[in-house]
């Protein structure tokens, strides 16, 4: 069953220099209970895709084309109040930095109770009991006592656990996790990823996991979408994409992951940098956006933009696939 379906999504941000198109025709599906990883470098449009789905695009950004279907219904054109009721209740979100995501002036219990009572018909006492259960479930020790603690009294990893509890406490069907481990210590990252996976599996929550960490994707995602300059260049099952990357960009991305087994004198990198869709005319190359950096570039790449088509188990946007 398809839970979320994004079709030809285009996001535009008008600015003084012109019209930027940070997302340009993105399509993908997430099945119920599935974990889809979205990777790509900074500025590829990963976070904006998440924001566009939840109707939280930063001003003055707007959805300029395509549509978003959630559970069979179109949600990209919902009025603000109905979109608000969807957020938290059906679609939860987690952000990158747990140190700044929690309101410093309210106890974690207050924030949990507030979130639950906004969406669910619960009394204050019932919500509080549930809040305690949630803290327990995300692995906060002594939840009974800690429920009345303020965010600054928790460590970074614990705060991200609280954030996860807040995102899941109204039991959404989809969780959009935007770089949930990037700001955390490496030693804590694994715990948070394990927690996310366990909670998602246990409740059948679908997860859209935005990250630039291929290791995290390999560990928990079912499928992965690789984004480059506002488009998806490759999407498919994790094993296929990681073991047999088809798109030269994905291939390059895999090559940049340092391995302990292979000792290299230099870390590998993809030469050049990603074009920024910032509205200036010459920013986006004609044809394939990756062609100026592509080692396998040929004439067609400079003229025609490749569309996603089937290549093995994946969909790839490359003329060579």
């Amino acid at each position: 069953m398809t839970l979320l379906s994004v079709r030809d999504l285009v996001v535009e941000i008008p600015s003084r220099r012109g019209l930027a198109r940070p997302i340009d025709g993105v399509s993908f599906d997430i099945e119920k209970g599935e974990i889809l990883g979205i990777v790509g470098e900074s500025g590829a449009g990963k976070s904006l895709t998440g924001a566009a789905i939840t109707g939280l695009l930063p001003n003055p950004g707007r959805i300029a084309g395509g549509m978003v279907l959630f559970d069979g219904n179109r949600i990209d054109d919902l009025p603000a109040t109905r979109m608000r009721r969807l957020r938290g209740r059906r679609i939860g979100m987690i952000f990158q930095d747990p140190l700044t995501t929690l309101d410093p002036l309210f106890t974690v219990g207050q924030q949990l109770v507030e979130t639950m009572r906004t969406h669910l018909p619960l009394s204050d006492t019932a919500a509080r009991t549930r809040a305690r259960d949630w803290l327990d479930r995300v692995g906060i020790p002594a939840a009974n006592r800690r429920i009345d603690a303020y965010p600054h009294e928790f460590s970074g990893g614990q705060r991200q656990r609280v954030v996860i509890a807040l995102a899941l406490c109204a039991e959404p069907d989809l969780l959009i996790a935007d770089e949930p481990t990037t700001a955390l210590d490496v030693s804590v990252q694994a715990h948070i990823i394990a927690l996310l996976r366990a909670l998602a599996r246990e409740r059948g929550t679908a997860v859209m996991l935005i990250t630039h960490d291929m290791g995290v994707i390999a560990e928990i995602a079912d499928r992965v979408a690789v984004m480059y300059a506002g488009r998806i260049v490759e999407i498919g099952p994790v094993d296929a994409v990681i073991r047999h990357p088809t798109h030269p960009y994905t291939d390059g991305l895999m090559g940049t992951i340092p391995s302990v087994a292979r000792r290299l004198d230099r870390l590998r990198q993809i030469d050049g940098s990603m074009p920024r869709p910032n509205g200036t005319r010459d920013a986006m190359p004609v044809g394939c956006a990756f062609h100026p950096r592509c080692p396998k570039v040929f004439d067609r790449c400079r003229q025609e933009r490749p569309v996603l088509h089937t290549a093995g188990a994946s969909l790839v946007a490359c003329w060579l696939a």
Partner: protein, 331 residues
């Protein structure tokens, strides 16, 4: 918490001692009381006798200590102009000034905060732009001009409100008087309170607006939206509360300013408060009143600063934690 209050009070002592020194120095260096009392023609023996009676032949610091000791007991001497105890004069005027200052502050807060919240949320709306323009006028218009303009419009032209005085007042308790019991008393309060409060109101409005703009950009507000909270909860519970720490600071300090500098407004409206008393005392070099006023205002600022610090504790739990840590270190 208790240790924090105690340490703040201890810190206030040097401040008050210093202000007391200045207030006392007024006596020593502004005018010669012996000459004022005896006139130019007295003999040296008479002068020495009076100086001895008044304690003026004692060392400076003994006199200073004596002055402080009396002041601490509420004895500020006798007014040279009115020949009444200064403490009685001030007690008579204090309620008028405090009533005016509190009304002006409440007005400024009650109007300024909602205006600031609105201007912060709908930063580009027509109303917000209007608020900003009006607030610019409010910030830049001098109090006496505003007071005279208000008198011109509401008293002279429209004849709606009285232009001077406090109206009828009723005694409450042993020394407090209030104008709130009668409609005439309240009417008399309106123009001076607006005059005194407008600057604070615009200041609060602009401050709340800029703080709101700042807070609305934070991650926790974004996350609150992602949690699906209502706009009402986001704006008034989360955002507003986070703007309060700087707003409390400004309101607190401004309240001290309102009391201390209400003398312009009181002069314009002939409001029988401490400011007017001070202006009259300065005109006739009534030093005991001036020095008592100085001490009282210093005490007020110290009290306000303490209150503001305590309010921080109520608003921001992070400071509570710091306070606890400081306290355990103190022990």
């Amino acid at each position: 918490m208790f240790a924090f209050i105690a340490s703040r009070i201890l810190q206030a002592v040097p401040v008050l001692l210093a202000v007391g020194l200045i207030a006392f120095a007024l006596f020593a260096y502004v005018g010669d009381p012996v000459t004022i009392i005896l006139g130019q023609d007295a003999t040296d023996a008479q002068r020495r006798a009076l100086a001895h009676d008044l304690g003026l032949d004692r060392p400076f610091f003994v006199q200073y200590a004596h002055y402080l000791w009396s002041a601490a007991q509420g004895d500020f001497g006798i007014s040279l102009r009115l020949a009444q105890p200064v403490s009685a004069l001030i007690a008579e005027r204090l309620p008028a000034t405090l009533e005016l200052a509190v009304t002006a502050s409440v007005l400024a807060f009650a109007v300024g905060v909602p205006m600031g919240v609105h201007a912060g949320i709908h930063r580009d709306s027509f109303v917000s732009r209007l608020f900003m323009v009006v607030s610019l006028i409010g910030v830049s218009l001098p109090t006496f001009v505003l007071g005279i303009l208000l008198i011109l419009v509401f008293s002279v032209s429209l004849n709606w409100l009285p232009s001077f005085g406090r109206g009828p007042v009723v005694a409450v308790g042993s020394w407090w008087t209030t104008g709130f019991t009668s409609w005439a008393g309240i009417r008399a309060l309106i123009l001076p309170a607006v005059t005194l409060g407008l600057f604070q109101m615009t200041l609060i409005m602009r401050l709340v607006r800029s703080e709101m703009l700042e807070v609305l950009r934070t991650d926790y507000i974004r996350f609150a939206r992602a949690r699906g909270l209502t706009d009402r909860a986001i704006h008034f519970s989360h955002a507003l509360k986070n703007t309060l720490v700087p707003v409390i600071t400004i309101i607190g300090l401004q309240f001290g300013g309102i009391v201390a500098f209400s003398l312009v407004t009181e002069t314009v409206f002939q409001w029988p408060g401490m400011g007017l008393l001070l202006v009259q005392s300065v005109v006739s070099a009534d030093i005991p009143v001036m020095s008592a006023y100085l001490l009282l205002i210093a005490l007020l600022f110290v009290a306000i600063n303490l209150t503001v610090d305590l309010l921080y504790f109520c608003v921001d739990p992070r400071l509570r934690a710091l306070g606890r840590r400081a306290e355990t270190r103190g022990r």
